[in-house]
Every structure is written in C-alpha cells, then in structure tokens.
C-alpha cells in the first residue's frame, strides 16, 4: 500500500491534467530531483560523473528527441546521429565565426539549424511512409558523415578533421569541472523534458499521436498530416541537435565526425525501443540501460574471474542488444516504461492483490 489512490480526489480539470496526479508520484519526483541536483554532485566522484552520468543525461536528451518523432508521431529515423552532428558542427561554427554571440544563443541557434535540416529531410515523409522513410533518414546519415569529413569548411580546415570546442563560458560562468558540466547537462535535460512533456499532452502532441495511430482518421478531424509530421521532425531534430551540441562541447571536448556515425543513430533507436516508445520516462530508462550495459559487460565477467577480449565484449553487446530489441518488440512494445507502470500498479494494490 505504498501507492494509495483512495482519498485523493481531483476536484478540477486542472488537477486531473497535472503531470503527476498522485501525491506519491509528486513526492517521488521531488526526491529524485533533489538527489539529482544536490545528492549526486556531492557524492559522485569524477569518474562516475564523466564516464556515466554526463553521457547518460545527454543521451537521454537525444532519446527524448527521437522518441518525439518515433514514439509519438510514428515516423522512423535512422539518422538521429546526423541531427546531433548538425547541431554540434553548427554550434562549433557559430562560436568560431561569430564570437560576439553568447554561447547559450549559439546552442539555441544550433538547435534551430538542426530543426531546419530536420524539416528538409522530413519533407519526403509526406509522400512516403514507414520503411521508405527509414531510407530517407539513412540518406541524411551517410550524407552528413561525408559532408563533415570532406567539406573542410565545416571543420575550419584543421588538418586532422578533428575540432575542439571553445571554453564553456555562460555569461561569465565558466563550466570546467565535471560537477559543473553535470549541472549544465542536468539543467538542459530537466528543461527539455518538461517542455516535451507539455507538448505531448497538448494539441500538437495529440495531433502527432493521431497521425501515428491512424493517419487517415487524423485527416478527417482536420489534422494536416504534412504539418503534424514536419513539426514532429522539427521539434525532434531541435532536441537531437541540442543533445549533439552537449555531446560534443561538454562530453567529448574535441571530436571527429565518427562521433556521430550510424552507430550513434542505432544506439538511440535501441534506447527508445527498450525504454518505451511514446514515453518521456522511457527515454531516460532506455538511455540508462544502454549506457550501463557495456560497462557492466566489461566489468562483470572480470569480477567472477572470466577474462573476455574487447572484441568479444563488443560482439556480446551486439547480441544482447539484438536479442533485447526482438524480445521487447514481441512482449512489451512500450518498453521499460510500461514495466515500471505495471510495477506501480502492483504497488498500488500491494500487499492485497485484489
């Protein structure tokens, strides 16, 4: 009886529309936020922040971006990595060529540029569906890989093709310790997650889901498929682009185009499928799972005395990801997020199963 719904009456539609309707949920999220903002930075060491928590946060953000498109609007993308790359290189060039602009504005503009590219590559989605769209977004992925490698202007003609982010100076606040970087990412993630949640429970989100569930029926209630799909592409790529900026500027520091290859795109796709399509919470769960699994695979066998080669670990990773994708699609297409919800419903009844 940890969850008790009885006695909590919602007396207005405003209360019924709240993100967290139950008192227990509100307490829970407050606790999580407190731990994330205060507890973790106090307790975690540099390795934990740098190698696990910061990548987790940024990948969660990118997964939210893909989830808006795939999970809410039903449009597949195999090019999320490319949208991240567009964000990262846009921000790099903005900071490089227009140094007078504040860095925060660079981030924002980079997101907008990614959104613009998203709209352009979303245009085919009006004429083609599902599987064809997969190829269209794959086209973007390969084109972006090539462009950032071969068109030297993007990398400012550096001989190696690798570029380095500028100093992270936000109106005088210089972000240079791992803890500050963590806070920066956390701030972005919290803000975007809230905005995304608001969007999906508003008119726009409902029109996305309508397109996802039955585009023909969506049309007769006055939704214009083109408008809904393109807006989903735009918002999704904005978020992915922003995640790309953070990945490059905050996590990597200096990077090559390879950082945003098709591997990244697939990894994000897996996060969304495993975490839960059509769930903001799922994006976090999926990102956590995919971030932690390789680390676990690297360390767990050693702990029980088995030594695996690096190649072996990466093959194992492939196999486990592949298997999990199939299993989740068969058994729980709504992913970890749905399992979490089922768990909560059980808790609501616990210890009386009826």
């Amino acid at each position: 009886m940890i969850y008790r719904e009885t006695g909590q009456f919602r007396t207005s539609y405003a209360e019924d529309q709240a993100i967290f309707r139950l008192r227990e949920d509100r307490i829970g999220i407050a606790a999580i936020l407190a731990i994330a903002w205060v507890g973790v930075p106090l307790l975690a060491d540099e390795y934990l922040l740098r190698a696990i928590l910061i990548p987790f946060l940024i990948l969660s953000l990118a997964a939210i971006g893909l989830n808006l498109l795939l999970g809410y609007c039903g449009q597949i993308s195999l090019g999320t990595g490319a949208f991240m790359a567009v964000g990262a290189y846009s921000a790099y060039n903005l900071a490089l060529r227009l140094p007078e602009l504040p860095l925060l504005l660079d981030f924002f503009l980079a997101g907008l540029i990614a959104a613009g590219v998203g709209i352009v590559f979303g245009l085919p989605s009006f004429r083609i569906k599902g599987l064809y769209l997969a190829v269209a977004t794959l086209a973007l992925q390969f084109f972006a890989d090539w462009a950032f490698l071969r068109v030297r202007w993007f990398t400012n003609y550096t001989p190696s093709g690798s570029v380095t982010a500028p100093v992270l100076d936000f109106f005088g606040w210089v972000v240079d310790t791992e803890r500050e970087k963590y806070w920066l990412c956390l701030a972005f993630v919290c803000a975007i997650a809230l905005l995304a949640k608001n969007l999906v429970r508003s008119r726009l989100g409902r029109s996305w889901m309508a397109i996802r569930d039955m585009d023909i029926a969506a049309e007769i209630i006055g939704i214009r498929p083109m408008h809904a799909k393109l807006s989903a592409f735009a918002v999704s790529s904005f978020v992915a682009g922003l995640a790309g900026v953070l990945w490059a500027f905050v996590h990597l520091g200096s990077w090559e185009p390879l950082a945003f290859s098709i591997d990244m795109s697939f990894r994000l796709l897996f996060m969304v499928i495993i975490g839960g399509m059509g769930s903001i919470l799922g994006s976090f769960l999926g990102a956590a799972f995919i971030t932690i699994l390789p680390i676990f695979l690297n360390q767990a066998p050693a702990m029980i005395g088995i030594r695996l080669s690096t190649a072996m670990v990466s093959h194992l990773e492939f196999m486990i990801f592949g298997t999990l994708i199939v299993l989740f699609l068969i058994w729980e297409p709504h992913g970890l997020a749905r399992l979490w919800q089922i768990g909560k419903e059980k808790m609501r009844l616990w210890p009386f199963p009826y």
């Binding site: 539609y13 405003a14 019924d16 529309q17 905005l195 608001n198 969007l199 429970r201 508003s202 008119r203 726009l204 409902r206 029109s207 889901m209 309508a210 996802r212 569930d213 039955m214 023909i216 029926a217 969506a218 049309e219 007769i220 209630i221 006055g222 939704i223 214009r224 807006s231 059509g278």
Partner: protein, 278 residues
Amino acid sequence: MAVASAPVATSAERAARRERRIGEVLLAVENISLRFGGVRALSNVSFDIRRGEIRAIIGPNGAGKSSMLNVINGFYQPQEGRIVWKGRVFTRMRPHEAAKGGIARTFQNIALFKGMSTLDNIMTGRILKMRASFLEQAFRIGRGRSEELRERAFVERIIDFLEITHIRHVPVGKLPYGLQKRVELARALAMEPELLLLDEPMAGMNLEEKEDMCRFILDVNEEFGTTVALIEHDMSVVMDISDRVVVLDYGRLLADGTPEEVRNDPAVIEAYLGVAHG
C-alpha cells in the same frame, strides 16, 4: 419498429417537430461519378441533404454508399460532378477542408486512435478549435493552459451525454466494440459538426446497443440541430428515424424520397428489399 420507440416523444410528435426544423439545402452532390481504374463505383449520382434532417443512404453491399461518404468528406476525388456545401461549389473537397467546413464522420470499421485514451481521442476532435501557439503549448502558459481546461470541460459534456464517463482514461484499444463505436461518435461530435456522416453506426451491435445508438443519434439531431447522413443496413432503424432516404444500387441512384415513398417504390423492392426479404 420497436427499435427506436425508446425516445420520449412518439414518432408523430417528432415528425411534426422536425417538419418545422428542416431548413434549406446544406449539401448537394451533383452528377458525381467515381471510378477506380476500370471499376465504376458511382455513376452520375445527385441528391441533396437539408439542414436539420436525418438522411439515410441505403443499398445492397457494393452499391457505393461508403464511396459516396468518402467523396463528400474528400477522401476520394470524383472524376466528374461537383459538391455544393453551404452554397460554395467544390469540384474536389480535401479532408481538412471538409473538417474545417463542419463535416465530421465515423467509419464502418472503427477508425479510432488505438494508442490514446478515450479522453484524448475525443480531445482530438477539438484540435481545430484550439489556437495556442507552439510556445504557449510547450510552456503551458496563456492559451496553452486555458484552452486545455476549456476544451476539456466541453469534451466532458459530450462524455456525459454519451454515458462513457467510466472509460475516460482507458486506452480505446482495450474497449469492447460497442463502446468504441460510441467513442468514435463522441470524437465526431466534439468537432461540433453541422453535418455528421455515420457509416453503419449500428453494424455488429446487439439490440440494446442499437437502441442506445438510435437514441443518441436522435438526441444529437434534436438537441444540437446537427444534420445527420447515415448508412445503415437495418431497415427498421432506417425507416423509423430518417426523414428522407437515398437508395443506391451498383453506383446508381435508384430512388430518393421519404421512407414511405422509398418503401413502395417498385424499383427498390425489386433491387433491394425484394432480394433482402425474399
């Protein structure tokens, strides 16, 4: 005719009330012809629908009834003919134009959004009435907040009216067939349509569900003054609730008139009733 006798008023009273209410021509289809490749789905069909009436479209399977509805709300583009909607002439109607102009419809095989709750499904019917900007929605400020509350209140009235309060938060994919049909009607009503197109609203229902649905259709027509055009196979329902009936057969207009006229039309008896009732 037991099916529709449930409503409070007797048939005679209702007919008299409707007589006063039925107004000018709301929609006219003129000489519509529709082909798919070599198959003629509709040939040279014309009829009109007057404001405030309940208009039935009947005919054997494959007569072109659903195709007619699809032409009216813009899914199919007829090769010939035109549609006059509220005095405006369209040679082709687009689905979103139809929706904006006030035409709503339900489908023969339910077309709900399976992954969304009943409430969200019905809320989608209000999408055209909402004006909040992108930023207002993202930050849930201004109209982004007030509209959600206002439209929710509106939708709740429809939920009350159709007696589906208990399934508000249930994903529609989990609902039984009869309730799904009702939710689909609710979504169409949420659009506050001037013309409601219903494609076999009672197909596959048991007697009790049919009675409920008849009552809802009559109530909608009387209380909101909504014009209704429906396709239905159950002749007793058609004869009882509709003001005028169009009969289609092999894509052609066979007869058009009051239920009595149509029932006594020799061509109709030959082609349709004759076959159906031996």
